[in-house]
Symmetry: C2
Subunit: 258 residues, 2 copies
């Protein structure tokens, strides 16, 4: 079987620097797929630095305010690079250009239920993106972190399980419930493969997740260093202090070689 060609990255247009953070739109090509993303680096970056991969939730895109804000914070405070790509049926992947959160949310739920290849394709998209980013002088091959809640954990569990370059992860707002029993089994099997330090977030009053399912998923993660934070409020009400906890986790594990 021929080896899949190396992922190629292009920066077709947007390149904006605001308050010392450079934001560039990129497209990574993997076979016939185009993977749309954003890369944040210090304005004057050269040489390798830790990289945090940020996966948005269903109904959001790579440009969501909390994604951009987290990325800029990691660049400004820690000198890291950060990258986000659009999820399936989200953002620049949509032919119809719709930015409607409810539409993207529902279409993702349907795609997850109907397309058994979705997860593996998204894992491959993330890995190809990481391959491509590591070729850049201003990113290079340093420690890598993962940050993804809700859909960012549906996709994050298999990515972190597969990708040993990831040495610390923030996950959460997700449980073991899945639209099919074989998917549920895979989530658990993947969680058992995760051994890096994990901060797992839960919203105690989450209207989308059952508490027992969330705790079960946390329990299945194999990492000896795993922390669980439950906060008051609903699914989208994660408090700002967890962004600070995120930054401390990545500072601890990405700066010191994992």
């Amino acid at each position: 079987m021929p080896k899949e060609p190396t992922a190629r990255i292009e920066f077709p247009d947007e390149d904006v620097t605001t308050k010392d953070v450079r934001q560039r739109r990129f497209v990574v090509r993997r076979g016939t797929r185009e993977i749309p993303g954003l890369l944040w680096t210090p304005a004057d970056a050269s040489g390798p630095r830790p990289l945090v991969l940020i996966c948005h939730g269903a109904g959001n895109t790579k440009r969501e305010q909390y994604i951009v804000s987290l990325a800029r914070r990691l660049v400004r405070h820690q000198g890291f690079a950060a990258a986000a790509i659009d999820g399936p049926v989200h953002g620049d992947r949509r032919a119809d250009g719709s930015k409607d959160g409810a539409t993207m949310f529902i279409e993702f739920a349907q795609l997850w239920a109907e397309d058994p290849q979705m997860t593996d394709e998204m894992v491959a998209d993330w890995r190809a993106t990481l391959d491509a980013l590591e070729e850049l002088d201003e990113v290079g091959r340093e420690a890598v972190g993962w940050w993804g809640l809700s859909m960012g954990t549906i996709l994050g569990i298999p990515v972190v399980a597969a990708e040993k370059r990831i040495v610390a992860a923030v996950l959460g707002l997700m449980g073991t419930r899945a639209p099919r029993e074989d998917y549920r089994k895979r989530i658990i099997a993947d969680a058992k493969q995760i051994t890096c330090p994990v901060l797992f977030l839960m919203q105690w009053d989450d209207e989308l997740m059952r508490r027992d399912d969330v705790l079960e998923l946390f329990g299945e993660i194999a990492s000896s260093d795993k922390r669980f934070h439950a906060n008051p409020g609903g699914h989208v009400e994660v408090p700002g202090e967890e962004i600070e906890a995120t930054e401390r986790l990545f500072a601890r594990h990405l700066l010191h070689g994992g």
Copy 2:
């Protein structure tokens, strides 16, 4: 029925200032009981300030390193006062002067099982201590916090439930399991009376507590603002970052009037 006489506080001997933190041993008299404690204040304190009540775990005393360290930190960083008293059969309450942790732990477990008045007497001891401390010029009547894990939660749940002067609490390392069914019911009933902001700590690999019992106790606390942090390791391995989280919680809720 005659009113119980006002609690009286005495500072019989120890009064040491180290790096701007003044530590004094005190005794509060409540009826025939003598309540031995330590008070920490800024060296030059005058006028009212927030106060944190710190309750040690079974087998420890008010002089345990983590108790003294937390108290000194709250004084140094926040300008608060902090106070700790010995638990039943612990520290200066012991006629035999024993400092053996295992002995105190076992005797506390036995006392809890055998003496139905133990909890109410300790609640009254803490309330009398708070009454007495509030009379001091350098403490006064400001917001009050509670910090107690393990036995500090066995006693802390009823104290925080009863004492509306407490406006924020750190609890944990405890579940709903108790030596008698009526005690278990009381723990749950008291938890349902707690409405102040709570940070609840759990050790994921706690050898003394069942996970389901710990989560049940957290679930029963009535506070709308309650946070749950689970960390890796056993009962006595709470990581230092939770001391930082403690300080942030008290700074948020005690400095701004709760």
